[in-house]
Amino acid sequence: MVDRVAAALSLNDRVRPVSLANERVLEVSGPLASVLPGGALQRGITVGVGGAATSLALALAASVAGGDSWVAAVGMGTLGLAAAEESGLAMERLLLVDPVPAGQWAAVVAALVEAVEVVLVAPPASAVPAGQARRVAARMREQGAVLVQVAWPERAWPQRPELSLQARPLAWSGIGAGHGHLRARQVEIAVSGRHGADRPRSARFWLPDEHGRLAPVEPEAAVTSLHPQASRARPSSSGGRAMACPTPSPA
């Protein structure tokens, strides 16, 4: 009898809905977890992504959307699909909506958040009335999707994002004065915002690394100058690449 009660209680524990707001998170895999508050992404929020916006948005979507979750890109007609694939995004679970007529943005995003974990948007200025954006935000909190505003704050969704990721490009490597090719870029990703991210933090990454993915930078490979190419460019006769290109290693 006691056993049964205990079993019922433990069952009760197990089936209790886990719906506390800060417990509903999207797992983030890979190096990006180290800069996000709590190492994960809270469901239902909007994230502003700026600086090297497209690469960072793709890297974020790729590290969130594992398993069977889908990703949608809305109004991103110029998205480089090869770059999306190299970033690790599952192309078979990617929906693209473009172009979006003015006035339909909120309806489209509201329909997508029901099915998709991550929605990337790049709306033109004042395409979305603030009232509609609030309704979309409410729907997102309910469904637990994450809205990523690409190229924030230049192309802003009217709602201010809860979390901001800014990737400041530091330097490209692999390319010189007429030789080599673009191979990898170092960026500094700064994270700020509400909900546990009120204290800004930042770290350096390869974005993209030489396979097109996001990778952490080892301390000795970090660049110091903002404009190193011109000053460090050596004549091509000194062989191959002008800049030393440390091989980024995966996390």
Binding site: A52, T54, S55, L58, D68, S69, W70, A72, G77, T78, L79, G80, L81, A82, A83, E85, E86, A90, M91, E92, R93, L94, L95, L96, V97, D98, V100, P101, Q104, A107, V108, A111, L112, E114, A115, V116, P169, L170, A171, W172, I175, G176, A177, G178, H179, G180, H181, L182, R183, A184, R185, E210, H211, G212, L226, H227, Q229, A230, A233, A242
Partner: protein
């Protein structure tokens, strides 16, 4: 419902109308223009003109273009194939309403009634051919009409010789016997049989049934039945009870295709729940529609595998699209008031492997629903999914398909096929994050240190080192900090209409932004940004 194609085991005498090369002809190409349709870089259909130049099924795009340089390369459009085929089906269904479709390009009908009316098989075949060629003038002299015992043999009879062939009743096994095993379209099974020294359907048919089942199981048994000229229905196929159907009254009447498709979608979802509960998969489905003026349209759809809800909705949409948008005589005069889905043959569901709690499939189903809703808002082609294609430029490596035209549940479980070949001249990895389509590229100017424009000579060398880059819409010119290239690209130099000469240059500017600029037609353009 089932009287038309018998289910008693003996094959039904069947007429098959076959429109060759349908995927390419449906796109409005004439058989005498060289053109071909590719899916994932493999050729799936070509016009007669292209085939004369040595282009064959399954060829890679590059290989096919090398053999037939003038050939036009097209992407597959299943929607349009189905829509244009409706013109043929409408004509054929004037002979009997029991027209069965498996895929656009081929349809079948039982000959028993119509043959008696028209005075024999030959007269019926001639009448059907004449009517179809009248309805689709581009197909004149190409339509294959075959009659045999059973749809499989009839299909082969239709394709066997160009005007098709009549196989006398009872002569079907003799007709099939000399044909090669490859007509079974089961490459794995055929490979094994060929290694066993069997090369024709006749040789395979001569094996004893228990031996075939013991060695090859279910698949082998079905192939064996086909080879013997028997009916190709699985033995456990049956007629479902009449309450296993769904219908919807549409009030007010629906005249727009997207509204009708929306209704069809929810019907298909309901039907799939009914079928799941009963433990059946649908092999053949009847779609019935009725207009406010009492017009009635019925189509039978067959699916090689069992029909999933996504696949059902897709077929309903094709059919309605064909019916509501054709200019043919068959076009209804009023809006639709009733829509019904009636499963016509079912087999016990053996089930597809689903994730725990629905898992993968549930996420895909939700994605398909959301795609449907957005398509309802913005039009059927607004939501797109990605398919692989080959190409050198970043915007050529993938093609986009309308999400409502593909079965998302099937797609979600299989990654895109890996690239089939390296493309020499492809840009090195990493690829740019922002790519402008050829028509939308911002114009740019690449200047050297002296301020004069940089040009590229015929040997692919730059006239001077680029020092500054300016582009339309920029507030100031930027200093070039580093650059690589120019890399010349020459594509399709053998074809004056499609040839393309360009030179590409990667540059890094003083704000650490990186760009791909292209010199084409004497002007520099921003082609992509490494954002």
């Amino acid at each position: 419902m089932n009287s038309a194609f018998g289910m008693n085991g003996s094959p039904t005498r069947t007429l098959v109308v076959w429109c060759p090369d349908w995927p390419v002809l449906a796109l409005g190409r004439h058989p005498e223009e060289p053109a071909a349709v590719f899916v994932a870089n493999r050729l799936v259909a070509a016009t007669a003109a292209a085939r004369r130049d040595g282009v064959a099924m399954g060829m890679r795009r590059r290989e096919a273009q090398a053999r037939c340089p003038a050939m036009e390369v097209l992407d597959r459009d299943p929607d349009r194939e189905a829509r244009s085929f409706e013109a043929v089906v409408a004509v054929v269904s004037s002979f009997t309403p029991w027209v069965e479709l498996s895929r656009p390009g081929t349809c079948a009908l039982p000959t028993r009634g119509p043959a008696r009316y028209f005075g024999g098989d030959r007269a019926l075949a001639d009448a059907v051919r004449e009517q179809v060629e009248q309805a689709v003038p581009a197909m004149a002299g190409l339509v294959g009409v075959g009659i045999a015992d059973g749809p499989f043999a009839a299909r082969l009879a239709a394709r066997h010789r160009s005007p098709g062939q009549l196989v006398e009743p009872g002569r079907t096994p003799a007709f099939l016997a000399p044909l090669p095993l490859s007509v079974l379209e089961l490459p794995e099974l055929v490979g094994v049989l060929q290694r066993l020294g069997l090369h024709t359907l006749g040789a395979f048919a001569a094996l004893a049934v228990p031996d075939v089942i013991g060695r090859f199981g279910r698949v082998g048994e079905r192939a064996h039945r086909l080879a013997r000229g028997l009916d190709d229905l699985p033995l456990d196929a049956r007629v479902p009870p009449s309450d296993l159907s769904v219908s919807a009254e549409l009030d007010p009447p629906v005249a727009r295709i997207d509204q009708a498709a929306f209704a069809a979608k929810s019907l298909a979802d309901r039907l799939s729940v009914l079928l799941d509960d009963a433990g059946w998969s649908c092999l053949r489905l009847a779609v019935e529609a009725e207009t406010e003026h009492g017009e009635h349209l019925l189509r039978l759809w067959r699916h090689e595998g069992a029909l999933t809800p996504g696949a059902i909705a897709e077929r309903v949409r094709w059919q309605l699209e064909g019916w509501l948008t054709t200019s043919a005589v068959s076009r209804p005069t009023g809006g639709l008031i009733r829509l019904a889905l009636v499963p016509d043959q079912v087999i016990p569901a053996r089930g597809r492997q689903l994730g725990f709690w629905g898992g993968q499939s549930e996420a895909a189903r939700r994605a398909a629903r959301a795609a449907g809703r957005v398509a309802g808002l913005l039009g059927p082609a607004a939501v797109q999914v990605v398919d692989r294609r080959g190409g050198r430029h970043p915007d050529e490596q993938f093609s986009l398909l309308a999400a409502t035209a593909v079965d998302l549940e099937d797609r979600a479980t299989q990654p895109l096929p890996a690239p089939t070949a390296p493309w020499p001249g492809r840009l090195p990895v990493p690829s740019p994050g922002v790519v402008w389509a050829a028509g939308d590229r911002p114009a740019a100017r690449v200047l050297d240190a002296a301020g004069s424009p940089v040009t590229v000579n015929g040997r692919g060398e730059a006239s001077a080192a680029p020092a500054r880059l300016e582009a339309r819409g920029w507030s100031r010119p930027y200093r070039v900090e580093a650059w690589a290239g120019p890399w010349p690209v020459e594509e399709r130099w053998w074809d004056p209409a499609q040839q393309r000469r360009a030179a590409r240059l990667q540059v890094v500017l003083d704000d650490v932004s990186a760009w791909l600029v292209v010199l084409e037609g004497g002007c520099w353009w921003l082609a992509a940004r490494y954002d």
